[in-house]
Subunit: 266 residues, 2 copies
């Protein structure tokens, strides 16, 4: 966070060319899209791979623009909802309109501000790892981790603790609706090599370590897990949650595959 | 170039997360597009700013897909042509089809390979700074630096030497057709701040220091100049070239401005 005082460089000419400022890159992207600007989002991975991800438009999309898989997942949501990593609030707004009492949480101050401006009634800057401190026990009937946000469980080491915390704030008959993808469904050499690199350093193949870059900003490096259904079931098995079923897309998207939504209960 | 042997890191876990491999990122992007893959190109600037640039499609575009400004610029090309930074050969192929004898040069081995496969008859891996060593004097009737490739003159310090070298391999009545843009035509705070940063370190405001990133690869950092017409005229003034006229677009593009093509003669 206090990245300004790291060394004694004065004129900044070229001691670390290209080094961005650490900040709320994701939130700034959402703010700019909300202000009508064209935006983009770049994902940098800790093996040096870089690529474009969804720009602002995706995070502001309406129900009828979503994939059929995401639409279908909403049918599993019931009662009071916790939306983990709510972003600009696309799921929270939809569920609120459907009559649910929704609480959105996001680590990004910009995301929280934009979701609030767009009408999400209860949205807070909370890390999913801290939900048990932020909310009372037995509060939520549904927890949604859409848009691959099951990834926010981070790594195999951190996942059980986070799933435990989510169970603590959820009711006994709560449902966890968790979207991710099986990372091994790829023939991209860079990705296959990264999975192997992860295995070698004792991580799950899809335990991405990434940051978001936008303009002159980069988020902190963070862990984001892509998990096959067997992995999701294994991680949940150490917690009160069980993977009941997986929703698969009607047809695979052209340039990706392995997408699914896990439906977990206690 | 020998970036593999820099330090003693063994497992590569996180000593420099996100550091890409130095290589022909631009050429790999062109090769992948040529092989039918979807591609992208990311530009990283030495102040930490990052953003998407044109993907492969742009570099393979045909005359009737170009801007009216680029199309009009081709009308100023005459005789034997040197295409500086030919990329995948879109200008070279068009001019070859129009009956010109064309030589394309590019620093990127991948670009040279792709341009050759696509039918550019004479294409070589040559740095524009080395043209006087690579070609006989009085060889080319036209030199084209399209797609903002006037930028390859680099910086105010290097530009006159490169323009001199181009004059040496050009005939006495040759034309230099040079596309760039006035960098100061922007209201983007990041770009305005970069121009000021450049002035403070004694560079022209539009003397970009950038690298291309694609997948796990990054090019070497290099200088790429965006120059207002007055700057182009000033730099040419120290060389045998004179800026005769500037071609302006019929209408400005929506999200950019300042685009023009300089027509220089001796």
């Amino acid at each position: 966070m206090d990245d300004a005082a790291t060394d004694g460089a004065d004129d900044g000419a070229s001691e670390r060319p290209g080094e961005p400022q650490t900040g709320d890159a994701f939130g700034e992207m959402l703010r700019d899209h909300h202000a009508g600007e064209e935006t983009y989002q770049i994902i940098e991975r800790d093996d040096g791979w870089i690529g474009p991800s969804a720009g602002g438009e995706h995070y502001f999309s309406e129900f009828d623009e979503w994939t059929e898989l995401e639409q279908r997942a909403m049918g599993h949501v019931d009662g009071r909802v916790l939306d983990v990593g709510c972003g600009a609030g696309r799921h929270a707004l939809y569920l609120q309109n459907e009559g649910h009492d929704v609480t959105g949480i996001d680590l990004s101050p910009g995301a929280v501000a934009v979701a609030r401006e767009r009408g999400v009634e209860d949205v807070r800057e909370v890390d999913v790892a801290d939900v048990a401190e932020a909310f009372d026990a037995d509060t939520f009937d549904s927890v949604v981790m859409m848009g691959n946000n099951f990834g926010l469980v981070g790594t195999a080491d951190r996942a059980p603790g986070i799933l435990d915390a989510l169970a603590e704030v959820a009711t006994d008959d709560a449902t966890l609706v968790a979207q991710t993808r099986d990372p091994t469904v790829t023939d991209d050499d860079d990705h296959v090599a990264y999975h192997e690199f992860n295995r070698e350093r004792g991580r799950l193949p899809g335990a991405l370590r990434i940051r978001v870059r936008y303009g002159g900003l980069a988020t902190e490096w963070s862990d984001y897990l892509m998990a096959a259904p067997e992995t999701m079931a294994d991680l949940a098995g150490e917690t009160p949650w069980d993977l009941d079923e997986t929703l698969e897309p009607d047809e695979q998207l052209t340039d990706a595959g392995g997408d699914y939504v896990g439906i977990l209960t206690r």
